[in-house]
Amino acid sequence: MSDMTYTKDMFQKVKRESYHADEIKRPTIKYWADVWRRLKMNKLAMTGLFILIIMGIMSIIGPHLSGFDYKEQDYSQVNIRPNSTYWFGTDELGRDLFSRAWLGTRYSLLIGIAAALIDFGIGVIYGGIAGISSRKVDAIMMRIAEVIYSIPYMLVVVLISVVFSTAGSGTSMFVLIFAMTITGWVPMANLVRGQVLQLREFEYSMASESLGASKGWILRKHIIPNSFGPILVNVTLTIPRAIFSEATLSFMGLGLQLPKPSLGTLANDGLAVMPIGLFYQILIPSILISLIMFSFNVLGDGLRDALDPRLRK
């Protein structure tokens, strides 16, 4: 024991307000702010996001930067390699590839995002309804979805493009998106249904239900906001899939209507002149499309990690 003596004047009364030991001193971080904070720590995902922002901006302003129109043909300037006038060179019709490449990026991004958003819309509605319906209705709805999903995706896309396009002139963007979403919504519906089945068993949903809330209310107020994370990841990963399908289709010659370029049609044009040593014409759209795919993939992966509560520190 120490020989220190405690005297009364060493103590003082604690003021009432400093009693609050359970007071939260640090500012609370909202859920999405926390997700963003963790996403920011993922360098690969941030690189992806950065590339996507740059490409998004370039897809808007890029076609106007070089001063050449994307469909203007100049037969005196055919197959010119990239130089200071034609930054990405010209194709075999003398069109400026810089304008065409960024316009192609624009269409590829638009198609990817539109297809993913439509898949998202249909998937959420269908999956949500299946999830809150009775077992029987749910089983029937999921069987139908299963049949639709086992129809090979590309065959449907090809068939639809055949039916709705006139020979030789390609497909309109609208038809292309429509064809891709016919079977594309099913994984999203499955995901939403799974989330709904899981979340509606949680206490807060049951509490809400016992207070007399309708199914629609529970779906809107509790289930959809809480399943938003996995859905967002799914959307982010659907976009590159749609872009890839469009590029593949265009590469097969079934893509966008001429003379509109997409990255796939540009690569297809490039393949035709590759044997005569003009490799740059396939190289440029190839790099752009690979960059888009890469960025969406790493961003999606990063989002998944950032949203995973098991990885939270």
Binding site: V147, S150, Y153, L155, V156, L159, A167, G253, S286
Partner: protein, 310 residues
Amino acid sequence: MAKYILKRFALGIVTIWAVITITFILMHSVPGNPFATESRKIPPNIMENLMKKYGLDKPKSEQYIMYLKNIAKFDFGESMKSDSETVNQIIARGFPVSARLGLQSILIALIFGPALGAIAALYQNKIPDYVAMIISIIGVSVPSFVLGSFLIQFVATKVEWIPIGGWGEFRHTLLPSFALAVMPLARFSRLMRSSMLEILGQDYIKTAKSKGISKFAVIMKHAVRNAILPIISILGTTVSDLVVGSFVIEKIFGIPGLGQFFTTSVFNRDYTLIMGVTVFYALVLISAMLLVDIAYMLIDPRIRLTKEGH
């Protein structure tokens, strides 16, 4: 279990029927008749004969039933554009080529993909992990048509032994099989890595280790065997992706496979060939998915139990 297989089988039949019906409706909703797109004018009496030959003069419902009956006999009819060949003959000529390409690719992917993923998981956050993940992220991001044309530019034109295109000998198959294999390989390795990481943290791995089994045996017998299950579950959709990939790869390397015939039939508006090849592809893919499902169930007893519990 038999009940489950039967159920899957029935679902497969319904799906094939749906594909046939959708294909039929779509192909018959194309405006105009299939012969009208040709540049030369066809005299009315010849046109009538043509319509009769392909059964197009009969009512739609009758045509539909005829078509269903013929498919049940595996008869896809005659090609509209090539006079000498039936659709069956074209499939018989093109499918073995495509099947060989596809099988070789999936073999490459199945050998190297899981191995890469397993190595990545065993060396988590070390250099082998980073290398494996860089390879797989590139594999997922680079479309097969880009990879194919790069291989031609940088390998086939440089190495004399490897041809730029064509088909026949084994050396013709090397580059296209590799180009087609990269995407599934990358996907397998990513999946393998995450499932392997999950399993390495399981208690039974600790138990196995504490029993004093060699590290190699723990990894091979306990970790890899369990971690590979998710890969088997996505094999079915992978086959379907390979078919799409083969359209492109066959075009780039000039391979006379079914994908080529399909693409040309689409350009030529050869409706019987489009319908025939579509239905044939659907048959192949849906059977593949069915087989994978059954195989999965036989391999993983946990699935068998839950399915029976229903």
